[in-house]
């Protein structure tokens, strides 16, 4: 809303009188304390509340699942856990667990992990394979009953538990999320390895190159030769065959 001419005139006169008295015109009419109390604090509160609401909206609360889901998820998790144990992924929550010999890793467990984690580069196939394993999996936690039967056996007893396309998709999605986490973790580990190798290589090492891609490919080749193959997403970060 624009001021009236009278108000504008008064405003000019005030400025002139302020200048004549040697006082600069105050741009801000509020004091710093006023800004802090009357503006900043309320904004902070508003932002915090908005953020929390956004986080809450992204989280899904626990939902009630059907029986087939429960049986299937239990068996998929068991198979997944078994894969984790077998691959040794749980032994390396961080790259600090890896043992080194100079600039190169010298850890048999990690080598096995690297080998076993190669299928992670094809999550669809790996999820289908794990689903098949889960469907055939018979829990070994003892006891009798339906909990110890394989899912296929359960399907033979309860045809309503047969996996249709939707249910299969759900199962693959569930496995896919796990695989995705495995993939992320493995990437983290392998990037850490790469970073450590690069940092540890002496000056003039033949693996070093003025191009990062070529450098990366030399390192990945050497790591692969040493038994620590990198995931394609890591190996081909700078493109395929850059040298």
């Amino acid at each position: 809303m624009t001021d009236s001419p009278l108000q504008q005139e008064q405003s000019r006169l005030r400025k002139i009188s302020a200048l004549s008295r040697g006082r600069p015109e105050q741009v801000f009419q509020l004091s710093p304390n006023d800004v802090l109390v009357q503006i900043a604090l309320p904004l902070v509160l508003i932002l915090a509340i908005a953020t929390r609401l956004l986080m809450a909206s992204s989280q899904q609360g626990p939902a009630v699942m059907d029986l087939w889901q429960q049986y299937l998820i239990m068996r998929m998790d068991a198979v997944s856990d078994h894969w984790e144990r077998n691959a040794g992924l749980n032994q390396f929550p961080t790259a600090q667990r890896i043992q080194w010999d100079g600039p190169w890793p010298a850890d048999a467990a990690f080598a096995r992990l690297s080998q076993e984690s190669l299928p992670l580069s094809d999550p669809t196939t790996m999820a289908a394979a794990l689903l098949d394993q889960a469907l055939q999996y018979e829990p070994e936690d003892g006891g009798s009953g339906e909990a110890n039967l394989s899912y296929m056996d359960l399907v033979s007893h309860y045809p309503s538990m047969e996996l249709d396309a939707a249910r299969r998709q759900f199962a693959l999605s569930h496995l896919g999320k796990r695989i995705q986490r495995w993939h992320l973790q493995m990437e983290e580990l392998q990037w850490s390895v790469v970073a450590t190798c690069v940092a540890s290589l002496p000056a003039g090492d033949p693996h070093l190159a003025s191009d990062p891609g070529a450098q990366m490919h030399r390192l990945s080749r050497t790591l692969e030769e040493r038994g620590y193959p990198l995931l394609p997403s890591v190996r081909e970060e700078y493109g395929e065959g850059m040298e």
Binding site: W191, S192, P212
Partner: protein
Amino acid sequence: MKGWIVGLFLCVCTGLLPLSAQSTAKQEAKRALAVRSAAEWVQEQQELLRTDPEGILSGKLEGIMQQTMLADPGAHAEAGASRKRTEALLREVLQQELRRLEAEGRKRAEAHSPLPVEAETWTRQVGLPDTERDSWMGQTLETPLREAYPRARAAAVDRQVRDLLEQTRPPDQATVDAWLSSVSDENPDSLLPRNKILGLQARLQQAQGVDQKPLLREARLQLDQQAEAFLHKLADQAAFQQQALKHAAAAPGAGAPVLAEAIRPALLAAVQEALAEDTTGLKPGETRYDVFLPVQEDASRFADRLERRALMEALEQGGWSVPDVRAVDAELRRDPRRHADPEKSLRQLADHFREPAQQAVLSGILARAEGLSAPEHDRLREELARHLTEFPEAGKRFDEQLHALLAERTEPLRETLSREQVAPLMERLETITPLPVREVDRLYAERELRAYAELQDLRAEDLLAPALSTSDRWLQEAEHLALKQTNVLLADAEAAHRAQAELLRRLEQDNLEALKQEVEDGVSLGKIRRKWEKDFASRWQSHPTADSYPGLFAANRRTLEKILRQWYDRLVEASARPSVSGEGSADSEQDIPVEETPADQQEVVIQEPEDTTRNADAQESAGSEGSSLDPEELDFARKAPVALRVTDVDGDAIELRVYYGELERHRRVRIPSGSGEEDMAALIEGLDPGLWAEAFARHSPKRGWLGTQSKATPVPVLVWVESRNVRYRTMIRMRETLSRALDARALEQGLVLPPMEWTAISDGTEP
């Protein structure tokens, strides 16, 4: 409104801070890969820079070096200092390049890194340690300094030289003339020597403004060489012009004499023509100068020289008619005294005849002049006369010719005049040839028959004086002729005299044994003398001069007598036989015991002196004080405190004169020869022992202030025996008697007299 906007901005920033994402392993790895690859790239670039800095910097280094040297040539004058400065500059350039590489590498790393590349991390990866940096710099700059620096320096030198040459111009004619004139002034003998022209380099470079400019040393050397080359060309041109001038001056010209002011333009025209025709030596663009000022001045000198060529030719030819013989003879006879000395005579004749001779020479030259007007004729005569007086060579040649001519003409004239002058003397000499015996004796006694050296000696001869009345006006040749002819006469007499003396010596040797025998046999001295005289006469008559001088000369006669007496007395004494009397008073003598001569009294054998200045008027009695002394006596009297002279007087008497030089007194006493004791006593008394003692007392030893007495030194007594009647035994007896008398007088008066030092002399001088 504004406040709301600002507050909202602040809160958004504050709220978003917690949402900043942390780096992942992938990001860290990619950063590490980016950093290492960028570092690798930087090291590759550094290595390329080290191995081929020129290639990497695209030839900038050489350009930088050249520009640096041209910007400050003073600091880069010397190659050594320049190299050091250049190396420091190149190190700075490399340092900048390294920093650029590091910066670019960091950019590359950041381009490939998802995370920021920290400066410290980057520097640690790529920075050269200080310990390696200096070595790296040295290795990198080794090849450029060895290869590119010389090229850069050569290019800088060429550029400097080219720029300076474009700004400078060759000096103009006036400047070159001024320089060459100064060279000519400093070297009048050689006009324009090449080495002096080359010494103009400093002036040339000053005129071109090169001397004050800071230059690289090689550039200065090149400019010096170019300046030297220019000066060589200049010297070549000067030499060519000088040669052309000399050639023009040497060209055969007309024999007739010409004025210099007509010759000079012709010479310069010839030089100009030669310059126009000369096509060698200068390249296109090089400056050809006109005739130089010193060469023009030299042309003037050549013109002068050619102008006086006719004069010099006339002087060289000679054959003058002036002065003629009659004039010279008349001048000689007018006042022969002025022309006595031949050299002085020539000079005086030359001064007398110089002017007419000059006029005759000039007239002869001008008679050949062709095509001259009357004023030019007079002008040429003036010029030639000036040359004759001012040109040293012409004046010298003229004088030489004149002297030669006069010498040639005066020689026969002087000979004729000399002969005329000495004619009276020649006539007189003919009348006294050979020289009379008494004259020979006199001349032997006066001068031992020595040749006359001066005419005044001849004038002193009464025999020749009348013939020498006009000798004060004689020429030198007349004097020589007179002396020569007179000495011929004297030489003949001297030869005869000498021959007689030699004959007497042989006679003595030959007759000595016979004399001994004759003395033993008691033959008298007179007989022996007559025998010897006969023997001499028989031997002498065969001598060539026997006809002129048949008898013994007086001196030789005395010599014969002396020889006879000495041998006779010695032999008689040895045989202890009395002498035979009755042959004359000269033979009588008394035996007087003679004491042996004391060894400390240094007695010398008494010789027969010559009596040359005996005072013929001294007829005084014994014991008198003589009249005033003649110069010879005075001289003899001053030789010793006591001087004794013994001479023969008329008859057989002996005169003794004693001179007390320090007392300025003298005594004279005469005794007959062969005196006895009473005569000896009278003799001693006549010599005045009192005066003798007084003379000796002056030399008595003095008593010192301590009562000591100085040592007594002997008093010399000179004894001059000119008498043949006095024998040495007589003198010894006289000395002893005198000594006893003096001792008695000293004892009587209480005096301490020093001993005598008795010294005998032969001719009035000390032995």
